[in-house]
Subunit: 196 residues, 2 copies
């Protein structure tokens, strides 16, 4: 059998943009590869984007409507199905299960969680932190089961433990910053409510 179908992950980013409003491939490409800061963590070629859209449609997560062009070529406008919407929310609200997926996939989740509001981000961060603590104790466990003379193994496990430890600290500091903003915004609201 062939290269196994990777269990999606970055296609969800497309769902995330479609969740905001229906859009066609060309505009979606301009948005993603242009001004949107998601381009800090994910870059896609135009032809790849069209292929991904097709796959999402095959999976029933999005649907296309042809918009005939008068002053422009025909457009293939995509919008989420209700399954697509549920699938996206489930993805956005759940932590990643491997350290290697923090770099792109988790940062992408954060991107959309921020759009959804501070509470969504805070929930996501808490859940991810819990998973990270599991990783951390696993790596500490690995280290304990490694003898002094297994130099390479120790180096690898120390690397992993230190990276996860840092991710946890970063999550915590991000949580605090978001929390502070939340409080300062609500304080301002209170303030303007009083003075008005």
């Amino acid at each position: 059998m062939p290269r196994q179908q990777a269990p999606l992950s970055l296609e969800y980013i497309l769902l995330g943009f479609l969740e905001q409003k229906p859009i066609h491939g060309y505009d979606l490409y301009k948005q993603i590869s242009g001004f949107e800061p998601i381009s800090l963590v994910w870059r896609v070629k135009q032809s790849q984007l069209y292929a991904l859209l097709e796959r999402l449609e095959d999976d029933g997560l999005i649907l296309s409507t042809v918009i005939p062009g008068e002053s422009h070529p025909n457009r293939n406008q995509y919008h989420l199905t209700s399954i697509g919407r549920q699938t996206f929310y489930a993805w956005r609200n759940s932590p990643v299960q491997h350290g290697r997926d923090i770099r792109m996939e988790f940062l992408a989740k954060i991107y959309f969680a921020l759009l959804a509001g501070p509470e969504t981000v805070l929930d996501l961060i808490e859940e991810q932190k819990a998973v990270c603590y599991e990783w951390l104790s696993q790596f500490h466990n690995d280290l304990m089961n490694t003898s002094e003379n297994q130099i390479y193994e120790r180096i690898v496990f120390q690397y992993r433990a230190s990276q996860v430890q840092t991710i946890i600290e970063w999550l915590e500091s991000t949580r605090k910053e978001i929390g502070n903003q939340l409080r300062s915004v609500s304080a301002k609201k209170q303030n303007s409510a009083k003075t008005s």
Copy 2:
């Protein structure tokens, strides 16, 4: 044009094993996926391994000799060419240029550097640390050029800076441990030289 040929990286691991002694695919697979701790950072399927060997041969880095089987099936024994050997040493002794390559590729380099001896590891670590400091100042720069209200950008850059910072600390602590071992070994040598 097609998916571009990735500029090698983990194929070098195969070169590293061939550098130790000529070997055929089946034994190589058993070694890599079995007892060798390199399996902590890289796993390969048997069929993939054969494909990689073929590619390395096409690239002129290894050569195969058919060893006819009397008490076993025919073997395709591979050995390094002199270009292959040079290519491997150059790879092993040079740092990686992207943070995402620390996790597997740099750890693989460390594996072979350890086999070559403590001095090789120490050199590699120093070079990698220098590169990491460049990354770090780049990320700090990114952060400085990001305004307070670009929340997402700040989160991403803080993540990256913290990860690199931790890699530097891990490199430093690894360097110390290797250095200590070197000194304790040479101390023992001196000691046994005295007492003998």
